[in-house]
Symmetry: C2
Subunit: 357 residues, 2 copies
Amino acid sequence: MPGEKEKKKRATIRDIADAVGIAPSSVSKALNDLPTISENMKTLVRAKARELNYKHNSNAANLRRGRSRTIGVIVPKINVAFFADIIAGIEQACFENDHRLIICQSHESFEREMQAVETLIQQNVDCVLISLSQETKTTDHLKEITNHNIQLVQFDRVDHTFGSHILVNDNREASFKAVQHLISQGYKKIAFFGGPDYLPLYKERKQGYLDAIGSAGLTIPYNFIVDNILKRAPAEVAATELLRLKFAPDAFFTVSDYAALGVLKAAERCGKKVPGDIGIIGFSNEAFTEVTSPTLSSVSQQSREMGRETAYIYFNYVLNHHDDDKAAHSLKLVIESAVIERESSVRKNKKGNKAGL
Amino acid sequence: MPGEKEKKKRATIRDIADAVGIAPSSVSKALNDLPTISENMKTLVRAKARELNYKHNSNAANLRRGRSRTIGVIVPKINVAFFADIIAGIEQACFENDHRLIICQSHESFEREMQAVETLIQQNVDCVLISLSQETKTTDHLKEITNHNIQLVQFDRVDHTFGSHILVNDNREASFKAVQHLISQGYKKIAFFGGPDYLPLYKERKQGYLDAIGSAGLTIPYNFIVDNILKRAPAEVAATELLRLKFAPDAFFTVSDYAALGVLKAAERCGKKVPGDIGIIGFSNEAFTEVTSPTLSSVSQQSREMGRETAYIYFNYVLNHHDDDKAAHSLKLVIESAVIERESSVRKNKKGNKAGL
DNA sequence: CTGAAAGCGCTTACAG
DNA sequence: CTGAAAGCGCTTACAG
């Protein structure tokens, strides 16, 4: 209709001030519930704010305050179960603490990771949570973050040489426990399918395997240890090869569930029973591990907790110790993984054990 | 050391101006690459900006410009494959168009959905993309968005009565095609496991099933149609019951892959061969459908494309037709789903078909 | 308890 | 091609 403005502007603090007949600064204080304003006035202001459909303008307030109540997270990929769950955990912590969350993906590219850092700095986030891309080998961009007085927490894929708060999985211990579990089921010839060996995370998982083998006094032929087997197809090929040897493995520990799946298929194809003849345990506790026949044992990384705890480092520790000496040293937290025992690694009669007696 | 400032402030446009010896406004224009500044000066300014480690302050610029180059998305849950993929698609579109993305979850709660809307308005987003929570039955909060001159696009779970741009799946057609596929494989007694019937999405999928059955001239006993079977366990129970009847189904179309999995287990338990005796097709193309034995046929909703297209409605359509009459009417787009034929529904010899001849 | 004034860091007409 | 001035919508010492 003719009486209406074509593009009605958002109501501002000044509109409320004019309507109520007080100063804009008082409106601001009333809306922020400062003790220096009378209750009557607050009620009046709030009522008028509602009436005018006023919305607080975060941009303006953040600019003035110099803080944004926003944190940024950078992950390689959001539509991977592990990271999606981590983000869900972070989001929960942000919600509890009334903060906004901006999510960036590096797509495993160092270039994109640097861009994401740039974006988050420009956005004035108070804190960056980051899990490094596979390509990342330097930390200048992390330095950039802290240089701008932005808090930094690394999680899962971290650079230990850079002094920031850090939260990681207990990769070595988790792998150790997984292999111990296989041993407890009577498996003795345990093969290992690892990841790219230059990534610390995979190095740790391999170490856990080696330690468990060592402390059980088992000996493993060198060809039972294969790096860079993360996907299903290569695992199937590699496992088939091993299973056809005269001295063949009786169990596989893989650092990925997809590789575990490949092993399962290889065993099927070679006519081996799982878990009777061959035991299998993977890593990550992907949703599909509950759905195969037999179901796949795996290591659960507690990703949701991990996300929550990462954010809590900022909310519960950093925010509270802004100026203490405490804030000086960097936190190193470890999230304990859990071995999820499913059908692929649990023997009813511990056949292997008996055979050994 | 003593010479350093304890908390170095971020460099501003004014710092650059002082260092170069020109006006702040000229610095702004140079950094924004406006044609009204000489190339020499731009080079000078850029160099100094790098030297001072200057970062553009989005908060300040957004406040001044009145636009934020940020879009907000509200989904029920981000760590569900369907939505994680959608968000990945949206993120891609945002990246291409140099926009930021703020992600909110409703957790299927109307209350939380309203809070998310509030947050996004306060954050000054230029556009909101939303998939409604299961609880959402009113649209006042959507009106709130458009009232604040913020663009709105609904996707997947939408309210058709509210006049906004909309992007949906072709639920009815997809179901129709899925059932047609079963029929083409010679299945004739096709059961249906649906969702809660009050949600339009599930109503449409059921309609597609009914239409396909009807147009093939098949008749189906009423007890072959069961609503509210979305999870594995109830599907296993319901399917077992049906398979034990003397007049039992020879195929199942379920609106969820988890239900399809339950049917698969039921068939196994009843000693029925899949796909020989029983055909199965699910919905959503969850990752695990590729991993079961036999692998599960499913309907792929092209979630990533869906996310991308949703964002494109804003970037390619809304942004370009700001003031046209075109922008007046709301777009309704449909993303075509694809039937993914896997082992659980593809018969080698079309046994059922032959029997029918 | 309330208000006037300054300022957060930019951008944008407008003038030269 | 460059600059001075105003202003985006808030918050925060400071004064009364």
